[in-house]
């Protein structure tokens, strides 16, 4: 069960990069995973669909979004936002990574 409280639920927050990568995968294919691996602080387990952080999660997500944007332009940032729209809808604005606001 997904629980939402005033604090960010870690499990929900962890879903953000995975959602972004999978959405990008639908558009650009496996490159989405390759590019995500290049983001420092982000550990990817593509086989098990697992993503974990080491460091500031918001910052890592911002760098992931920025990486896609750098390669594919502004449209890719919109895709990232759309991919997590239902998740960030339940978060406080301050909890949302800047790139997804």
């Amino acid at each position: 069960m997904i629980t939402i409280s005033n604090n960010i639920n870690t499990k929900t927050f962890d879903q953000i990069p995975l959602r972004i990568i999978k959405e990008q995968e639908l558009i650009i294919g496996p490159i989405a995973w390759d590019e995500a691996r290049k983001v420092s602080g982000l550990t990817i387990d593509q086989i098990h669909n697992l993503v974990s952080f080491s460091g500031d999660g918001k910052d890592i997500i911002d760098r992931l979004v920025a990486r896609y944007e750098k390669l594919f332009g502004k449209a890719s940032r919109e895709v990232c936002r759309d991919a997590v729209a239902s998740i960030i809808a339940d978060m406080q604005p301050s909890e949302i990574p800047i790139s997804l606001r």
């Binding site: 639908l26 650009i28 594919f72 449209a75 895709v79 759309d82 729209a85 239902s86 339940d90």
Partner: protein, 463 residues
Amino acid sequence: MFFNKKQLTASDPGIDETMAVNEALYKQNLELAIKNKTLSLLRQLYQISILALEPDVLAEKIGKTIQEAFEFELVGFYAFNQQEDLLTPMPFAESARLKEASTLQSPSLHTKKIASASGHPFFSHIINHKTLSFADDISSVWGTVADGGLLKKFQEEVHIKNILAYPLLIDDTVTGIILFGLNRKYEDLIQYEKESIDSFTNVIAVALDRARLYQELQIANKRLGESNARLKELDQMKSQFLSFASHQIRSPLTAIGGYTSMLLEGDFGEMSQEVKDSVQVIDTSSKSLVKIVNEFLDVSRIEQGRMKYEMTDYNVKSLVEEVTTELRPNVEAKKLEFKISVDPADSYLSNGDKGKIKQVIGNIIDNSIKYTLEGSIKVHLKKEDGKFLISVSDTGIGIEQSEIPKLFSMFTRAQDANKTNVTGTGLGLYVARQMVEALKGRVWVESPGKGKGSIFFIELSSK
């Protein structure tokens, strides 16, 4: 479409151009991805629609699929009854947190019917204008069926920020409503979500309507089956009663027939002419009654599948001659011309129940005699294409074309039969057809019309 990884990491002066190409490719791929996702969802919904036949099951599965695909808090359906102006809830698919809230403190939204729907503050817009409607406050949606304070608390708890609803239209008529509870404002829905909802509402409307029709058909079939079983039961009871009553009547009639015959034959001494005439009436009437009772018994046996046929080889020509000889006195009594003709044939041998066939031929000739006031009765036998055809033509009352198809049904008599002062049960021809068909033959009638006589045909197989 492919993205060149070497191009992506290149740092040569053509980087801007490469970037522009990548962006363009990305946008095209994005469009394709959205279309793919929409098509994939539509395919899922289509598969559900062909596998689920009950409206509630279908609504539950479709709702769950959409709820999971878009992560909406709530996806539900209402069936709309235009005559009653009533919205009846169908299964609602809920998010995990909404389910939890529902178990704790549920306003039971999905169990409440909404009356006077076309005047409802939220649903009226959908019903009357056949367009989508959305509201930030769930009290405007369910305020008529639940307490406002409870709804407000519930809305905060489950994070529903918007209720969005679309009409389900069949032939431009609202048959239902699909409703979404969102954790975002309608304006915040992404393009894919809006386009998908637009695409699948029509599909869902058709699927639910088909399921509704299927359910109605199932109910009608069930009722029909029950009625049929009851009718069969009644029919069986009727046949049993008929059989029982007929047997009970036939026994005393046999005694009456026996004693009247003995009286007429002078076994009890000479009678005056006046007494003799009276006994003759009793004898004729009892024989007529025996015939009627026998017809009832035949019908009863046929209806209960108890009619037995004793198959033997017999000569059709001899049988026709036998029957016509027996009936000749009746024809002569009415001063009718009686002609019997037989075409030459290599053999007149057939196989069947001779007694039943004799009964049928006799019945048909007897009918012709009864319903012919003047003129002639002609009986003709011929062999054609390996089959015997017996025709009995008369100059009697004739038959309307419209009456012909029902003439061989139970309790059916020709329209002008009453004008001939002939009494009958209307069972003779029914029994005749049942017997002939059971013996793999055919019986039918042709008539040029009312007052123009008729021809009855009996077709029998040859051996």
